[in-house]
């Protein structure tokens, strides 16, 4: 063995040792990060979705030459997502209880048409046009109608034991047909001027200041929630997160909420609107114009509010627990004394109410009701719930996930319009993403369970 060969071998051994050392260090660091993230007790699946969403956003941002990640576009995105998001929160409970609702799109069309006729043609005969309370009557009537339709479907599913797939497939045809019967297929417009605010648009937003107030309130809410949870855990002598983890979560939560408010508040009114606003509010019009933020749009607030209430119902109420246990094992739930039939009827009634709220937002936003209103929406709603991690086998799903799912799909669609992809190809992409998302989810669950 020559000297050079010896040094080479030596060197090889040394580098090997170094790599091993480095690898060990990396492993240690990784374990530390994992333990750190672990003590935050975050749902890794949701984290994965959020990362996916960010990837989509950044991807479209560069692809569109920098128009995607702008306050204006994200503001649009939030408004465009709200209708599907509102309905998806209810669809989660339906799917979790091992049912499906294929009728939501048609029901949106029917209830939307009913609400439009009510405010544009029926009510004005009695109370005239544009009363301040018209929108309340219309929304209330819509919600009642939604609850009735949901009750009808739910009762047949629960008490006559007809599969929900069939009942709501029938509903899909029936409500669409009735929507047409209501107005003979006419387009009903315009909507009541106060009612229109439900849909967002120029005047249907809360403005900058209130947006900040809402943001700060949300931030306080996050802090209070984490504090109370910590207290409860201490009281029952559960394991608590390390203090730093709780504080980190509070800071992170507040940063996300306030950051979002700040970003959306940077979408200012175009000059024409701003001038009208200034004139209305008696503001001086300065040389360089005024920067008046739209603030969070009403439909977005409605969607967020709905999601919060639904999360509360799903996780903190007995009804929600029942739904999940029925989805986990219907026989066990029934034997355990849960009134399964009543619970199923209630989930469909809740779905109907949410469809009514979504109808209100949709017709207000479009400022008209057309006979094709809501066509194919059921598929987007189901897809949102499923992309958001709701398992079609039942028992698993979160409201927040479904809202994220809706946001993912709308991001894809709006992004593709922004970069000018052909309509036919857009459908292809959305379809592929739906399958991919669920495939990844299934693979992830399988890995976790082994």
């Amino acid at each position: 063995m020559s000297v050079t060969e010896e040094t080479k071998a030596d060197e090889a051994r040394r580098t090997e040792g170094e790599t091993e050392q480095a690898a060990g260090l990396l492993r240690g660091l990784w374990a530390l990060i994992r333990r750190g993230v672990g003590s935050l007790e975050l749902d890794t699946r949701l984290l994965g979705m959020i990362v996916g969403l960010l990837v989509i956003w950044v991807g479209f941002h560069f692809w569109s030459g920098g128009t995607f990640f702008t306050p204006r576009n994200l503001w649009n995105l939030t408004v465009q997502t709200s209708v599907v998001a509102i309905m998806a929160t209810g669809m989660v409970l339906i799917i979790v209880s091992r049912n499906i609702d294929l009728s939501v799109g048609s029901m949106l069309g029917f209830i939307g048409m009913f609400m439009a006729l009510l405010q544009a043609e029926w009510l004005p005969q009695w109370i005239g046009f544009d009363q301040w309370y018209t929108w309340i009557i219309v929304m209330a009537a819509g919600v009642v109608l939604g609850a009735i339709l949901g009750f009808l479907q739910g009762a047949i599913i629960a008490y006559a034991a007809v599969p929900s797939f069939i009942v709501t497939l029938g509903g899909l045809l029936i409500w669409r047909g009735l929507a047409w019967v209501l107005a003979s297929g006419r387009t009903i417009a315009p909507m009541d001027s106060t009612f229109q605010l439900l849909g967002g648009g120029a005047r249907g937003s809360v403005g900058g200041t209130i947006s900040w107030i809402i943001g700060i309130a949300a931030c306080v809410g996050i802090v209070l929630l984490l504090v109370s949870r910590r207290r409860t855990r201490v009281r029952y002598e559960f394991r608590v997160r390390p203090m730093w983890a709780d504080v980190a979560l509070m800071v992170l939560g507040c940063a996300v909420v306030l950051g979002a408010v700040w970003f959306l508040n940077r979408y200012f009114m175009p000059e024409g609107l701003a001038m009208a606003y200034a004139e209305e509010h008696g503001l001086e019009w300065p040389e360089g114009g005024l920067e008046i933020p739209f603030g969070i749009a009403n439909p977005v607030l409605i969607a967020i509010g709905t999601a919060l209430v639904m999360t509360f119902i799903a996780t903190r109420r007995r009804f929600g627990r029942y739904v999940f246990s029925i989805g986990g094992n219907p026989e066990a739930a029934a034997l355990g004394g849960i009134k399964t039939k009543r619970t199923i009827v209630l989930t469909f009634m809740l779905m109907g109410i949410l469809v009514a709220i979504a109808s209100g937002v949709q017709i207000a936003r479009l400022n008209s009701a057309t006979s094709g209103l809501g066509t194919l929406q059921e598929l987007y709603v189901i897809a949102a719930a499923v992309i958001g991690g709701t398992s079609l086998a039942g028992g698993i799903g979160t409201i927040f996930g479904a809202v994220l799912g809706a946001l993912v799909m709308q991001s894809l669609q709006s992004g593709m319009v922004l970069v000018g992809i052909e309509t036919a190809l857009q459908d292809v992409v959305v379809g592929v993403v739906l399958i991919l998302a669920v495939a990844v989810d299934v693979a992830y669950r399988r890995r976790q369970s082994t």
């Binding site: 003979s184 297929g185 052909e422």
Partner: protein, 385 residues
Amino acid sequence: MKRNRYLIALIAVLAMLIAACGGDGGGSDTTEGPDTTTASPDTTEGPTETTEDMTGTTAAGGGDITVGVSWNNFNEPRWANFDKPAIIEALDAAGAAYIETDAGSSAEQQLTDVENLISQGADVLIILAQDGTAILPAVQSALDQGIPVIAYDRLIENPETLYITFDNIGVGTLMAEVIYGLVPEGNYAIIKGNQADANADFLREGMEVVIGDAVTAGDITIVCEEYTDNWDGAIAQTTMEQCLTDNNDDIDAALVENDGMASGVVAALAGVGLDGQIPVSGQDGDTAALNRVALGTQTVSVWKDARLLGKAAGEAAVQLAQGAALGDVAGVIDFESPGGNTMTTILLDPTPITQDNLNLVLDAGWIDEATLCQNVESGSVEACP
């Protein structure tokens, strides 16, 4: 629970019975089939004879004529409200009978519908095709049985059919003319209809006639051009919002292919306070759109007086049933179809409705003044005093 089961069983049996009856109908079709195929060679061998034969029938009285109409989808506002009554009126005038089917947007259903109409004894068929290609076998079979076919409003690529429609390329031209007249240069957004619908491209073709040169010269820049699934107003709204975002509101005109989508586009413009400032086109003469024209938020709605179309189809159907050859029907011209066929066609002229001629739709009874003028400042347009 048990009673419920019985109820459902009962319903199921009923449903089966109904299905069985439907099956019977189909059965009689097939039994009739051979008869008519034997008859069809006659028709091809001796056209004069058949003509005489048919004229004979007419002499016996127009009341013997039955016209079968296959609608694709009553879900669209206009067919039931305007086209159907106009056809019936034209047929009543000639003493002919009217039968109809509605395919509910299903191309497959429409194939069955056409067979059913034939077995019910239709002498002439008027078909509003859901899918102009999928319907071809049924059309061919009808023609083989000596039953003339009128392609109503939508093209069927068979030169033996009589195509009656509004000049769709003309509609695109008309809307572009109005908009181009107001905005001869600047950024244009073009919102097109359903990609699978040939009309979406006809309309676009018609626009090109007007703005093509200006686009080449660089006076007009088309900043967005998108198809819209199902001609859906909500989708058009999203498209327009994205278009405005992408161009930072720097859009000077929107060429929109129908009124339903125009409602979405105007809503998107209203969202940034630009409604009424950017010219928007549309077609169909929807009541909501005419109201927007009166309000000034939509510039033009090209109105195809559906009653004219229905009347023309009804009259042509009677002439064909009485034995007239395609070329002899009143008012026909030759029309080169996208499929390369020379179609015998009746082309009707549409009317662009703007603030200046809203009286036309009022006088025609298409819309009443209260609906047209809702929220319109009185006196701001002539039609709303």
